[in-house]
């Protein structure tokens, strides 16, 4: 299988803290890769480095051979990386449909002239985009919530909306940052079931940060465990979870003990 994303030697410091301390990661096309680790191990920072939200102090990130280390976020998005955020960045001033339509930005005609002229094909294209958005909303289980203001959604529904919006960008690689945070076990199971189905349907490559270890073991084909800015273990889920180094790292952080 081809490697779609490769990160080598990523280093990033904030003030005195080394958030990333030489991280290597490779993601294969079509796989589901899990990323876990105690709080502060650098997982979100890793995502940020990949998507260009922060610039690493050292190291390289390549996407399908292109070096994207120093590229700006929007260019990386245009290369086919989509992400969701830990703190849910949906557009609360828009409806669900409009949020999902925002995902179409990269393929729409966003020129001023195009908007002014509204040549014949355009309203057909707009109708098509709207249809596509509605389909996505239904696919993530928000079919009852079309054209509802995003701020009126429940927490779980908001997560699905963010997923739908990310999917609408038609990415090759999707990064999910703690999708089940704040959900109870039942809700988490449903959401991750949806995620897996959605990714299979599109043959989408997925990298997921999760604290919910059993869920991640179920979902991922491979798991990377991080601690203190480094990759501890990169192995199958079962092997990763029972690796003594991983248990050591989690035991050192009491809060995560129960997760294992």
């Amino acid at each position: 299988m081809a490697t779609i994303l490769e990160a080598t030697g990523l280093v990033k410091s904030f003030g005195g803290v080394r958030a990333l301390d030489g991280v290597d990661l490779s993601v294969e096309d079509g796989e589901i890769l899990g990323v876990m680790g105690p709080n502060g191990s650098g997982k979100t920072t890793l995502f940020n480095a990949i998507t260009g939200a922060i610039r690493p102090d050292a190291g390289r990130v390549t996407l399908a051979g292109h070096d994207i280390t120093k590229r700006s976020t929007f260019r990386i998005a245009r290369l086919g990386i989509a992400r969701t955020f830990q703190n849910l960045r949906i557009f609360t001033n828009m409806t669900t449909t409009e949020n999902v339509l925002c995902g179409a930005h990269m393929r729409e005609d966003t020129s001023v002239l195009g908007s002014l002229l509204r040549l014949p094909g355009r309203s057909a294209a707009e109708g098509e985009e709207r249809r596509r958005a509605v389909e996505l909303l239904k696919e993530v289980g928000l079919g009852e919530r079309i054209d509802v203001y995003a701020s009126d959604l429940s927490y779980g529904q908001t997560k699905r909306l963010e997923l739908a919006r990310a999917l609408n960008t038609e990415p090759r690689l999707l990064l999910l940052d703690e999708p089940t945070a704040g959900l109870n076990d039942a809700q988490a199971a449903v959401l991750l079931g949806l995620v897996r189905a959605v990714c299979r349907r599109r043959n989408l490559t997925l990298v997921v940060i999760e604290h919910n270890v059993p869920a991640l073991v179920w979902l991922a084909r491979r798991i990377v465990v991080m601690d203190a800015g480094r990759v501890l273990v990169d192995d199958t889920p079962e092997a990763a979870v029972s690796d003594p180094r991983v248990i050591e790292a989690y035991l050192g952080h009491d809060s995560m003990r129960s997760a294992l």
Binding site: T51, A53, S72, T73, F74, A77, R78, A82, R83, F85, R89, I90, F91, T92, N93, M94, T95, T97, E98, L101, C102, G103, A104, H105, M106, E108, D109, T110, S111, V112, G114, S115, L116, R118, S123, E126, G127, R130, A133, D147, Y149, S151, R165, T169
Partner: protein
Amino acid sequence: MSMPTLSLAGTDRTRPTGLVGKLILAALCLVGLVAVPKVVTNPYWLHILNLVLIYTPLSIGANIITGYAGMVSMGQAAFFGLGAYTSALLMMDAGFPWFAAFLCAGLVAALGGALVAVPCLRVKSDFLSLVTIAFGQIFFVVINGWMDLTRGPMGIPSVPQVQVFGWKARTETDFWYVAAIIVGIIVFAAWRIVSGPVGRAWEMIRDDEEAARALGVNVTYRKILAFAVGCLFSGFAGSLFAHNLRLVSPDSFVQEESLVIMQMAILGGLASIPGSILGAFLLIAIPEALRSSIPELIVYRPGIMGLLLIVMMIWRPQGILGRRRAAPALLLSLSDTLRRALGLKPLGEK
């Protein structure tokens, strides 16, 4: 779409306007165009309406920058003035025909807006407003001081009227017809721009820049574009202003004007084209009406505006016609916290 609908600000933009709705709107506009001068026969009041027409593109421009793209610009009077001076000088000193001067006014203002936006984006958004104030003042200082070009504080008198194919707009009525058509086209163009992906991209930036970037939006480019488009309209307004008033002087473009322009967008409705028109109407017609009946009130104009600003923040931060959620989240949370402070329920709760 089974039922044709009239699309107004306040409904989901993704639903297309029905054909019937469009035709009704067009018919109303046409009727209005012809009927107004017949109904409003007093030239003073027609002049007021003409001023509303002139300020409409200005208000729309401010709304694009602030309401759609979320950047608070407190220096729009400078671009208004830039358009006015450009148009007047091109006609008088360079012999341009009116329409060419009009177009150039818009383009020069748009260029100015884009140039100003570039350094503005280098500072935190808090400072953006300060920088726009500074640029507004720079403009004022320059036009006040550059006697050779702008005749300085005295201004440029006897600016020619609007002329199209040899026909001159000699009266307020004449001006009304030309301006109404032009402003109508501008309003239509603005609506087209903001109701499509361009407007949506701006709103994405306004609501969450980080998320917008992750969705492929070139934020820097789009912010500059917002300034360019907003100032394009401001420039057009400036040209209309110059050839209606027939005097272009620095006094018309002081800092307070920028605040009034910003207020038009905030009061009438952020991220709303009809709101911009309403804002222009309210902040032109009402002060004029008051001025003729209670002249002393003019002294209190800034204070009244200040009070209005605070009241709007509490009661309805998105403006009268703004979509409830079109107000940047920050203004909504202001409203909620102010209401709580006063013992009222926040707007969102039942």
